[in-house]
């Protein structure tokens, strides 16, 4: 597929170069992290100069930005949105909460480890990560894309059973369509 790091053809190199400079972000403002995204996008930090730009719907987006803790309820939506996005697609976990639950680690309804449910390409640590950190994270993602190793979507497809199992464990009212592309 596209992101196989060992077999980067010239076409893929060009494509990846384009992809890394054109990241359309679907910011899923779940937690407090959503407040950092406007700061990142607007004049002071201006992510658009890196080609990072907001996308309106999952169909158009490249990057799913999960800004903060995920409850069971929002997890379902996030998975849905992720599955609606089209290849190639990347996930950025934003803030400590996506890594280990952060300050909500012992809450009854939050997800501690996003990794178990979605393939995260880049984590940005911090509570909250400042816009500088966010930009750093985007830079990291661009680097990975350029190298052709940002292949979370590939992982997701290959280990779909694993992810589904984890997802179904927490999401009780499971009514998703099959994910088969």
């Amino acid at each position: 597929m596209y992101n196989d790091k060992n077999k980067q053809k010239i076409v893929d190199i060009i494509k990846n170069a384009a992809r890394k400079h054109s990241l359309w972000v679907l910011a899923y403002g779940t937690g407090c992290g959503a407040i950092e995204v406007p700061a990142t996008m607007t004049s002071r930090y201006d992510a658009e100069r890196l080609g990072v730009r907001g996308a309106a719907t999952p169909r158009q987006a490249d990057v799913l930005l999960i800004t903060g803790y995920l409850t069971v309820k929002t997890l379902k939506r996030v998975i849905r949105v992720y599955e609606q996005m089209q290849d190639p697609k990347y996930v950025i976990g934003f803030g400590s909460c996506t890594i280990n639950g952060g300050m909500y680690f012992d809450s009854y309804n939050t997800i501690n480890q996003l990794d178990l449910y979605l393939p995260v390409d880049v984590y940005i640590s911090g509570c909250m990560p400042r816009p500088e950190a966010v930009l750093e994270g985007f830079g990291k993602l661009q680097e990975l894309i350029g190298k052709g190793i940002a292949n979370g979507a590939q992982q997701y497809k290959e280990n779909l059973d694993f992810y589904r199992e984890n997802q179904k464990k927490v999401i009780k009212n499971w009514d998703f369509q099959d994910y088969n592309w």
Partner: protein
């Protein structure tokens, strides 16, 4: 016997036999019905001859029947639609009640339309006109809903039109001593100035009703939407053209001879344009597809009236071309609604959604017809619209053309509403059982949409008979001046070459369709309309996400001032007032014998008092 008589006799006999054939079998009835239409059409098309003239002698009136090139052109529309809508009707009427009633009136109104077209004198014209009116009236009230309101409204307006026509006819007779149309034309110059105004105005009132011209249009939305759709196809497609036919004759032969020619032309043209604009706005507001199309029909007829009223050769070409095109695409659309109504049981745009995958052929017919209706190149509707605009611009009607353009652009709104409402949007579970309509209904629609497509690149097929019709009424030859093969010109020599446009559009379309479709065909997977980006929410099966309510609300809010007043309401209020007044006159008869005696005495006294004035 002459060919025209034979056709009329077959029609009337066929109508009667078909009406009573229900006693034998339903299929026999269908066969008789189709047989009558086919027989007459075949006889007609095989024996087209504009020279024949039949005279039926009555003691004091001679009825003269014969074809002119103009009536021949309209007869194409009538017979073509009659055959196609006839087949469609057989499909649509399956298992319905009152089939005999329907077939009888259907055949009768076709016969009447044919009769109107072959009438060379005003009495037979009026006779057939009235037969057409009551047979269509009986079909308007066919489904029995709102008959007292809809039916009476239709009939009263028709009667107003027909009677003003009748008045004109008797005045013409008193002035020229003849009922022949040719005598009217030749004798028109000798009439007094008042009569020269009165007669065209009365005739135009008569034709304006059927052409749904502005103050006389109020019957149309109800009548069009209440009749069975297989008949509304005829009603809107062909019957309304009878009004246009009459108008064409009046404008070509009478109005041209008047000193106030331009004034009358402008008034009628403005009426037509305002009709088009206002009814387009109302069409946008409708939620029932039938009413939407009904208003749309009024609007389209408005354009035709504009073209006919302006009356330059190009405008005439435009009007008559649009008349044909409107017959083609509007009847297709009514048929589409009929098919959908048959399959789903409703024609409400708010209820039915997402039929595109259930009824693909119907969708194709609807799509093509809608594109033709919107006047978008490369389909036939564009040719007519183009000629209309060019004729208006070249004849110095700048504000008129703006108004026409406004209504034409606003028409996109209801076009989209129609397509979106029925075919696009969410595919709901409620309609998952819907199947494509039977072939007998689909094939006529597809044939008609094919005609729309063909006329888009080969308008000469229609322009040629129009040209000969106009030449008959001594308009200059338009071939080479205004059109040549598939090129159309305006007075200033600007042109549009249609065939290359069609090729160009087709090539580009195919290139990009291939680019999108065939490249992604393998990798791309169909997902249901429930699988859409709804902020991560998963819509349930029963959840209806389609955008239906207040479809064009912002637009309607913007044009609200134009829609505040409704002619219909004024007319109904007027009718109500009249009825109250009549209720008062009713009370003159109070049932008391003494009062009646007093009346008698008063009567005598009044007569005696007035006797000096009365009897000189």
């Amino acid at each position: 016997m002459d060919i025209i008589n034979i056709i009329l006799v077959i029609f009337f006999a066929g109508a009667l036999i078909t009406a009573f054939a229900a006693k034998i079998s339903s299929i026999v009835q269908d066969i008789l019905f189709i047989g009558t239409i086919l027989a007459t059409s075949i006889i007609f098309f095989l024996n087209i001859n504009t020279n024949t003239e039949t005279i039926i002698n009555l003691s004091h009136i001679n009825l003269t029947l014969g074809l002119t090139p103009l009536s021949l052109y309209f007869a194409f529309i009538v017979f073509g639609l009659a055959v196609l809508a006839g087949f469609y009707a057989v499909g649509q009427m399956q298992g319905k009640k009152k089939k005999g009633y329907f077939y009888f009136n259907y055949l009768l109104s076709i016969a009447a339309m044919f009769g109107i077209l072959v009438s060379k004198d005003l009495v037979s014209f009026f006779i057939f006109w009235e037969i057409m009116t009551w047979s269509s009236y009986l079909l308007v009230i066919y489904n029995g809903e709102n008959v007292q309101k809809t039916g009476i409204k239709y009939f009263v307006l028709s009667a107003i039109g027909a009677y003003s026509m009748l008045m004109a006819i008797v005045i013409i007779h008193s002035l020229t001593g003849s009922f022949l149309i040719s005598d009217l034309i030749s004798g028109f110059n000798n009439m007094s100035a008042n009569m020269q105004i009165l007669i065209p105005v009365l005739l135009l009132t008569g034709f304006g009703v059927k052409a749904a011209l502005m103050p006389l249009h109020i019957w149309a939305p109800d009548a069009y939407s209440n009749a069975p759709m297989s008949y509304t196809a005829i009603f809107s497609g062909a019957l309304s053209k009878m009004g246009i036919y009459g108008m064409v004759i009046v404008f070509l032969t009478l109005i041209t001879k008047l000193p106030q020619e331009t004034l009358i032309r402008d008034i009628i043209a403005w009426l037509g344009a305002i009709t088009a604009a206002i009814s387009t706005l109302w069409a946008i507001k409708q939620d029932d597809a039938k009413r939407l199309l009904a208003y749309s029909s009024i609007g389209q007829l408005g354009y035709i009236v504009v073209g006919v009223a302006i009356g330059t050769p190009l405008a005439m070409l435009a009007g008559l071309f649009l008349a044909f095109m409107h017959g083609v695409f509007k009847s297709t659309l009514f048929m589409v609604v009929g098919a959908i109504e048959k399959q789903t049981g409703t024609s409400n745009l708010k209820e039915v959604t997402g039929l595109i995958r259930k009824m693909p052929w119907t969708f194709i017919a609807a799509l093509i017809s809608i594109i033709a209706l919107a006047g978008i190149p490369p389909l036939g509707g564009f040719v007519g619209k183009w000629m209309l605009y060019e004729s208006l611009i070249t004849s110095n009607h700048y504000l008129l053309v703006t108004l026409v353009f406004f209504s034409s652009t606003a028409a996109f709104l209801y076009c989209y509403k129609f397509l979106f409402g029925f075919f696009l949007g969410q595919e709901e579970k409620e309609w998952s059982h819907v199947k494509e309509a039977p072939a007998i209904m689909v094939v006529p629609m597809l044939i008609l949409s094919l005609i729309s497509v063909v006329l888009g690149s080969f308008p000469q097929l229609i322009l040629k008979p129009i040209n000969s019709a106009l030449s008959y009424y001594s308009l200059p030859d338009t071939y080479n001046n205004l059109w040549k093969e598939s090129m159309i010109f305006n007075k200033w020599g600007d042109q549009v070459a249609l065939t290359p446009i069609v090729y160009g559009v087709a090539i580009v379309f195919i290139v990009f369709a291939v680019f999108l479709f065939f490249k992604n065909r393998k990798t791309s997977r169909y997902v249901t309309t429930k699988d859409i980006s709804t902020s991560g929410e998963v819509p349930k099966e029963h959840e209806n996400l389609t955008f239906k309510e207040n479809f064009f609300q912002p637009f309607l809010r913007a044009v609200e001032p134009a829609m505040k007043r409704q002619m219909d309401k004024y007319m109904l209020a007027f009718a109500k007032g009249l009825e109250d007044l009549f209720d008062f006159t009713r009370r003159i008869y109070n049932g008391n014998g003494q009062t009646y005696a007093i009346y008698a005495i008063i009567f005598v006294i009044i007569l005696l008092l007035l006797s000096n004035n009365l009897f000189s």
